[in-house]
């Protein structure tokens, strides 16, 4: 771009025309790119650091949290896997997360069919209500659920957690399955019906296989929404039944030991494996 062009474009004040000389321009561009690159690298480092820091910390030999860690040991993992409290919380959360995955995925997928394909009265209201648990602050929902569950002695119980976590997981299922259904060509289902299949056969033989990646993603979201959930779990846990999120929250607040780093590393690895699997399943299908 010549000096005249630059002036014509109006983007450079006349005094900056000196930068329009090719050598200086190239130099200032390089300098600018370098600065921008450094800034972006700093932001990416900021994003990644807190997740990655827990891995080396879980290997530290010291009894307290220190960074950089000293020595390498797996003893904190063995403490985690041998501690009855941690194991009880882990199994409790795992059971709830698996049950939540089943209930939220099934009810959510059924409702998504009705929302996308059905004559559902008050469709927008149902949709808004289903997304509600994502919008309403989790602390409000936690307090509300405690008030409801406490007189029924459902706090710290499997059914109590199942209801709470199913409600929290439903928005993820609705959003994901609705999107998958909207991408799926309904004439294929019509073809199946014309060939003599009934509604149920058409769904299981034609619709479900086609939306399966979306349903699988929804199931993983539901699992993680339950397993990683801590705010509502904080309120509806009690001495008898405690989720891993509640147990971690207590330990971070009261006794900060490297065991939490070991637990965190296990949880991060689980999340990344599951989400990586979803990513692979969805990357394989052609996307527009």
């Amino acid at each position: 771009m010549s000096i005249d062009q630059a002036r014509l474009s109006g983007s450079f004040p006349a005094i900056l025309d000196v930068f329009a000389s090719p050598a200086l321009r190239a130099y200032s561009t390089a300098l600018g790119l370098l600065a921008a690159g450094a800034a972006i690298a700093a932001i990416l480092f900021f994003l990644l650091l807190p997740t990655l820091i827990v891995i080396p910390m879980s290997l530290s030999e010291t009894n307290y949290i220190e960074f950089p860690p000293r020595g390498v040991t797996l003893k904190w993992y063995s403490v985690y896997f041998n501690d009855p409290d941690w194991m009880a919380a882990t199994w409790f959360s795992l059971k709830i997360a698996l049950a939540t995955t089943a209930t939220a995925t099934i009810t959510g997928t059924m409702a998504a069919l009705a929302i996308v394909r059905g004559f559902l009265p008050f469709k927008t209201a149902v949709q808004a209500l289903a997304l509600g648990p994502m919008i309403v602050p989790h602390i409000v929902l936690g307090v509300a659920l405690y008030l409801t569950f406490s007189p029924l002695q459902l706090t710290g119980s499997f059914p109590g957690f199942l209801v709470a976590h199913t409600v929290l997981a439903i928005p993820y299922v609705i959003i994901t399955v609705t999107a998958a259904l909207q991408r799926f060509d309904p004439t294929l289902e019509l073809a199946a019906l014309n060939c003599g299949a009934n509604r149920l056969q058409a769904f299981f033989l034609i619709v479900l296989p086609n939306i399966a990646p979306g349903v699988a993603a929804a199931a993983v979201f539901a699992f993680l929404a339950s397993f990683d959930e801590a705010t509502v779990a904080f309120f509806i846990s009690d001495v008898g039944g405690k989720s891993i999120g509640r147990k971690m929250f207590e330990d971070i607040d009261f006794n900060l030991t490297p065991v939490i780093a070991a637990v965190s590393t296990v949880l991060v690895a689980t999340s990344l494996l599951l989400m990586g699997a979803v990513h692979l399943v969805n990357a394989r299908k052609p996307r527009s």
Binding site: L47, P50, T107, V126, I135, Y172, L190, D228, F249, M275
Partner: protein, 299 residues
Amino acid sequence: MTNSRPQAPPRPLSFWKSGFSSARFYSLPTSIALAAPLIAALAIGFLYPVLKLVALSFSGGTLTQYRRIVTEPLHLSVLLSTIEVALVVTVASLLFGFPVAYLMARLRKGLAMIVAACVFIPLWTSVLIRSYAWVVLLQRNGMINKLLTDTGATDGPLKLIYTQGAVILAMTHVLMPFMILPIYSALRALPTDYVRAARNLGAGPARAFTAVTLPLSLPGIFAGSVMCFVLALGFYITPALVGGPGSMLMATLIGQQTTVLLDWPFAAALSTVLLAVTLLFVLLFRRTLSLSKGLNSVY
């Protein structure tokens, strides 16, 4: 993504009257049966508890609890500082998140994957773990204080944790992916030809950015900002772990009322106020808030 077809039936009533069975539409009874379990779950686990909470805040048929919020300067200032922190976090997420989203949308595939990994890995990590990491990083003898004293930038360790700044920093970290992803999908939908056309017509890079890229990415910016702001309003875990008594937010105040002071009616009133503020912002910006857009770019 782009080939989504219109879903509305042309004339639903005539379909219904003729009793014609179309593959596109389930009948009314089938639709209701399909949605019934969801509605039942939401009624039991969401609607009824929230209504019960709101009712408790008016217990005795008076506004006593609400009067306490308005008349006590402390409670009012907590509400205002919650909104302020949410705003600061949203603006910080936008400022730092936009360049990342831009890079993700414009880089070659391999490099874009690396940037995407930097966004997705924290997103898939539990909020609890990330707050824990910030506690460790910001501690008195933590990594950041070590770095500061070892390089001689400060004489002694600074008080970083249990401050308002720590809350803002950690919350920005947690919420940034919710800003980046909608902006990324807006930028990716923007054809590169538009920018090239602007450049060919004589616009400099800055002008092309402000005249073409920025306005066309506004839907993503709005969606991300509303999402960030609404989520920030109700944050509990992060402020509870990295914040101190001087950095009380609505959620931590509610937590304190319920777990320490056991003042449930007052906690219910505070919750109702927080809920009302959140819903107000959601309703105000519902056109720009695209939940599905944000989530569908997650995988």
